[in-house]
Symmetry: C2
Subunit: 320 residues, 2 copies
């Protein structure tokens, strides 16, 4: 849950005057996203989401993120539509922060994942990849394979405090991944963070895909691997192959994976596991006691990494 | 900001089926209140507030709180109206917690208090007191004069860690208050916690009074004293006598204080200061490092206590 910056009513009124959305009827900080401050603003014309971008977001990336959301929404993806002001702009400043408003999307993110959710997610992800194909912007993945080693170096000294032997284990896993990482899979815009809390469902169908603030240009199949990790493990760490199969079948119903992507999937899943393991480890080591946002346990992703390192081929994920 | 309990979509759907409000379109945890979990639920018939009562609220008090809100709203006070289910009940269970839904109130709480806000607040408080007069329920103030000493005893050993000499200073102030506390002022239902974040304004007029979960039966003028402390000090601790005068004038425009209430005001203001000083001190001493809700600094209320102990009579508050 996250509200880092307070907005006064005068500031909000002046901000909304730059749009054709009517006046604010209320503005409530919402427990959504951990990187930015998010508000649900009830205006005279309906609900909107107001986001103030906090320091972990590079302001230079915001035109890419907002442009992408605009592009996807125009192609029927249920992503938030950035609201344009009277001047045509979507990005401005509020309370000293870069700020934007986007459309409100109905639905709730699923607290208990079912195979059906995974099926719908897979198809939605494939649609997102297809809709992004003609998006002109590109953004380097700042948490891609080349970034893992430098990130690891910044927290390796404390890794064994989380789990004895972790530093050596990660060092070896990283070396293996760096040596074997594929170089020529299909590339496009990926979400890169499509966890359950970024996917809204309404009456069993997807009604919203949100939080595009890690979106970047990378292997499309890597996005699938991120989702396998985020959606297909049970709370006690067991891999649910039924959910994985439904997710992959759902994806392939809209965009079949090519043979190289299928073959690379165990490696991509290891990479996706180590990416979240490393950022969680970094946050774990660097979050001061008493911080408002509790860091997530990195060990969850260590278990996932170990699982995928033991996988021989895609049959482990339910594919033939 | 506070969401302590998660609600699944299935649980929410089953809960809403017990009301005639249509189905849920979304449900967002909101950063409002620190004691309970609050959600803004968009239903097919409009927005509602869903509250799950957490452990600091005594379930036995909930019928009083909900009954009071119902009573006040029926008399035109802009307080939340509890929503009745098909069975006529307002209180039921959700995700293992006592839970209720209330009407959504528009407006924003003022981040920068002006004398105008204080004037409107004073009048709204007097209206609240008048509307509560024929409310049949009563509830003992669990944080009244008789409760301060036991609360102090539970954190006195750590008081000097917050501020050297604090334990002795509080001991003396408490003894003075216990000896001089008035016994026969007008009594009625008071809000007892009407801080700025519990008061919504829309276009310069009050649109909502919320969070009745400290409401109780006590001196009406004590409620005024709570507001003097919460609304009339500047951020660096200066007492703003203009705001105090506007608050009191606004109150008296709807309900004149009687001479005994006026005379008691400096004492009541000391009492109101020590009540919040003690609960903040208790939370400060007892909040573990890393807690999600940061405790508020008790010293703010020490400064207020000292101010009121130096006050000779109500002229210090701008009254003639």
């Amino acid at each position: 849950m996250a509200v880092y910056t307070e907005v006064t009513d005068d500031e909000l009124d002046a901000f909304l005057e730059q749009y054709q959305v009517g006046r604010a009827l209320s503005c409530k900080g919402i427990a959504e996203g951990v990187e930015n401050s998010n508000f649900l603003v009830q205006t005279e014309t309906g609900p909107l989401i107001l986001t103030l971008y906090e320091r972990r977001v590079d302001p230079g990336d915001l035109p890419f993120f907002l442009g992408l959301m605009d592009h996807l929404a125009a192609r029927g993806i249920p992503s938030p539509t950035p609201i344009r002001g009277r001047d045509g702009e979507t990005l401005r400043t509020l309370a000293g922060r870069p700020a934007a408003m986007v459309s409100f999307l109905p639905g709730m993110w699923p607290r208990r994942i079912t195979p059906h959710h995974c099926d719908r997610l897979g198809t939605a992800l494939a649609h997102l990849h297809a809709a992004g194909r003609d998006f002109p912007g590109t953004r380097r993945n700042g948490l891609g394979v080349d970034d893992w080693r430098p990130l690891f170096d910044r927290c390796a000294d404390h890794a064994d405090e989380v789990c004895p032997g972790l530093a050596a284990e990660l060092d070896e896993a990283l070396a293996d991944l760096e040596a074997a990482w594929p170089r020529d899979l299909p590339v496009g815009v990926i979400h890169a963070d499509l966890f359950p809390d970024n996917v809204f469902f309404l009456r069993d169908e997807i009604s919203g895909l949100i939080d595009f603030y890690f979106a970047c240009t990378d292997f499309l199949a890597y996005d699938v691997a991120v989702c396998l990790n985020a959606w297909c493990f049970e709370t006690r760490g067991e891999f649910n192959v039924t959910k994985a199969r439904r997710l992959l079948d759902g994806y392939e119903a809209a965009r079949p994976l090519d043979p190289a992507e299928r073959q690379a999937l165990p490696l991509l899943a290891q990479g996706a596991a180590i990416r979240f393991l490393l950022t969680r480890l970094y946050d774990w080591v660097n979050t001061p006691d008493g911080a408002l946002v509790k860091p997530k346990d990195p060990r969850e992703y260590l278990d996932k990494l170990r699982f995928h390192r033991g996988v021989a081929d895609v049959r482990a994920y339910g594919l033939e």
